[in-house]
């Protein structure tokens, strides 16, 4: 395959422009679709002026808008976090859920629900559960990273195996918690674990926007460092990069982003894995474009998946994780089978 830098950058800018158009279209479609179907114009009118009939305005502004925006912010955060992890670990398979972040975050959140019990209500409770998810995610990924690192750098195979081990351990401890807790909290945990975007409201959206926004602003600052990290950690150091700081910062931001998303919307499979993969296939591994494009694509994908989850079996809603997994898994398998076509060797 022959591609010049100029072509690649041109394609990257085209993709960014296309996604910048697609995302608002997806958001508008998401606002218009659902149990009560509205036209796009009606939805836009309801959104902007509060007109279009009192009911439409209420549905759009109070129910669908927080939900669609939450999907967009979390999709962007997950996809950009996935892109950063894959760069840091020099492995296109390093999805946050494969390296233990998601399982650690789940355990952290369960622990807080069990210990906090009925105290955890409203915004404060949500923040605390998110904090638990964050701490759990950070601890899990640090442990995995520690297990996989030696003087010679980070072994990717060991890292994936350690991720499996930590995921299993977190799952076992989580089950133990569920086993010993009372029925009410058990229900709380399992409802929370199912996650999904149906719980979207303004406090959740506010928390997601603050945290997700910070992650989305912070990660691109490491784009150049990530570009050099693909050469290897020593090579990045020889190119003047503060590798230890970069590693810690990236792991920290990803754990914040993924931990928060697990806390707010549950586990959403494959957005962090598949989106950066596909974007990289299209525009190459330059993180200056990859991070931003992954974020936009992830936002679009999750908004579309959420819309589908509300429409396919309406008025019943499917958990959005089912839709992303149904889209993601076949895609992922086909990528695995064709990886040599685009020069990826794993």
């Amino acid at each position: 395959m022959i591609t010049s830098i100029t072509q690649r950058r041109h394609r990257a800018r085209q993709l960014l422009a296309a996604l910048a158009v697609l995302l608002p279209v997806a958001v508008l479609t998401g606002l218009a679709s659902g149990a009560v179907s509205l036209g796009p114009l009606q939805a836009l009118q309801a959104l902007l002026t509060g007109d279009g009939g009192g009911q439409a305005a209420m549905i759009v502004q109070q129910i669908r808008l927080p939900r669609v925006l939450l999907a967009a912010v979390m999709g962007a955060t997950l996809a950009m976090s996935g892109a950063a992890m894959q760069g840091l670990f020099r492995n296109p398979l390093a999805d946050p859920s494969l390296i233990g972040v998601t399982a650690g975050a789940s355990l952290g959140a369960s622990l807080l629900i069990v210990l906090g019990g009925g105290v955890l209500q409203g915004f404060v409770g949500l923040t605390l559960v998110s904090l638990g998810a964050f701490v759990g995610g950070v601890l899990a990924v640090l442990l995995v990273y520690r297990l996989a690192s030696s003087e010679n750098g980070t072994s990717v195979a060991t890292m994936l195996l350690a991720g499996i081990a930590i995921t299993a351990l977190a799952g076992a401890v989580g089950s133990l918690l569920e086993f010993f807790t009372d029925n009410e909290r058990l229900r709380q945990i399992s409802l929370w674990k199912m996650g999904g975007l149906d719980g979207a409201n303004l406090p959740r959206l506010a928390l997601a926007s603050v945290v997700g926004g910070s992650v989305l602003l912070a990660l691109p600052r490491y784009a150049l460092a990530l570009n050099t990290l693909l050469l290897g950690e020593s090579e990045a150091r020889h190119l003047g990069i503060d590798v230890n700081h970069t590693k810690l910062a990236l792991i920290g931001w990803v754990a914040v982003g993924v931990g928060t998303s697990v806390a707010l919307v549950g586990t959403i499979a494959f957005v962090g894995l598949v989106v950066p993969h596909v974007v990289r296939l299209w525009i190459g591994p330059d993180h200056r474009y990859l991070l931003a494009a992954s974020a936009l694509a992830g936002a679009t994908l999750l908004v579309v998946a959420d819309t589908l989850s509300r429409v396919v079996l309406a008025p019943t809603e499917l958990p959005v994780g089912i839709i992303t997994a149904l889209i993601g898994v076949p895609f992922f398998i086909s990528l695995l089978r064709q990886r040599h076509h685009y020069g990826m060797q794993t």
């Binding site: 395959m1 022959i2 591609t3 010049s4 830098i5 690649r8 020099r90 296109p92 003087e151 750098g153 150049l224 570009n227 050099t228 693909l230 050469l231 290897g232 020593s234 090579e235 150091r237 020889h238 190119l239 003047g240 990069i241 503060d242 990289r280 190459g284 591994p285 330059d286 685009y342 020069g343 990826m344 060797q345 794993t346």
Partner: protein, 259 residues
């Protein structure tokens, strides 16, 4: 002008002594070749200078300043290191890889691409520019990585004060590209860049090096011009190999003939 000065340097990053009492001075424009048997500490010496681990005794100075005092980025503008193995398995284009060498500089995209062009020409990789790195052969990848470290310290004018560390840069290269690399090294040395490289082919070492440094089990056992260092006795003691050492027909260097 002394670019690099090692005085009584020892290192034991994993508690075993890897390097013991190394004394070495490299001046601007000088090419020093490190030779020695496998496991002699040649790569470790390069990695020590590149800052992968620190010395347990002695002093390392680069450009007159202790190496550890250099700000990270400024050091990267003056010192480039080509390791033996490359881990890169993401589908960058060749030109993108070479441009990564410009990361520590703030010379602007246009100047960077011009410098990358020079580096690509110097390593005969211009024709590969738009290929994907992951689809190249071993020798081609090595030349691309060479172009990357060339680009990192490239200066179209005076290159005094810069140091290039190359760990077996010729290992995967065919004969023509070995000769071309020797020419490229001579070219940047002429403009003042100091080069410290590990080579296994002693004749190549004698051809590119102004000076040879011989290491054995972490110790420096000989140092001097190729003619001083390359003797039949050295090969018997060090490599346990019988060789003939003669004057090269070109009259400039010794020629070591194995079996």
């Amino acid at each position: 002008m002394t670019v690099l000065a090692l005085d009584g340097v020892s290192a034991a990053p994993w508690d075993e002594p890897l390097l013991v009492d190394i004394r070495l001075q490299v001046s601007a424009g000088e090419v020093v070749a490190l030779i020695g048997p496998n496991g002699a500490g040649k790569s470790s010496l390069l990695r020590l200078i590149a800052g992968d681990f620190s010395a347990s005794a002695g002093t390392l100075a680069f450009g007159g300043q202790p190496l550890a005092d250099w700000p990270r980025r400024e050091l990267a503008q003056h010192l480039a290191f080509l390791p033996q193995l490359s881990l890169l398995n993401f589908p960058y284009t060749v030109e993108e890889v070479v441009l990564l060498g410009r990361t520590p500089h703030a010379t602007g995209a246009r100047a960077d691409r011009e410098i990358a062009h020079h580096a690509l020409v110097a390593t005969d990789t211009l024709g590969l520019r738009n290929r994907l790195y992951t689809q190249l052969s071993g020798g081609e990848r090595q030349r691309v990585q060479l172009a990357r470290v060339f680009a990192q310290i490239w200066d179209s004018g005076d290159m005094a004060g810069k140091l290039l560390l190359l760990d077996e840069p010729t290992a995967a290269l065919d004969l023509a590209h070995q000769q071309q690399l020797a020419g490229a090294i001579a070219g940047i040395a002429e403009r003042g860049c100091a080069v410290l490289l590990v080579v296994h082919d002693v004749n190549l070492a004698a051809a590119v090096g102004n000076r040879l440094l011989v290491l054995d089990r972490g110790r420096q056992v000989a140092s001097g011009t190729p003619a001083e260092v390359l003797t039949a006795a050295l090969f018997r003691d060090l490599f346990h190999a019988e060789v003939l050492v003669q004057q090269h027909p070109n009259g400039r260097q010794p020629l070591v003939i194995g079996l």
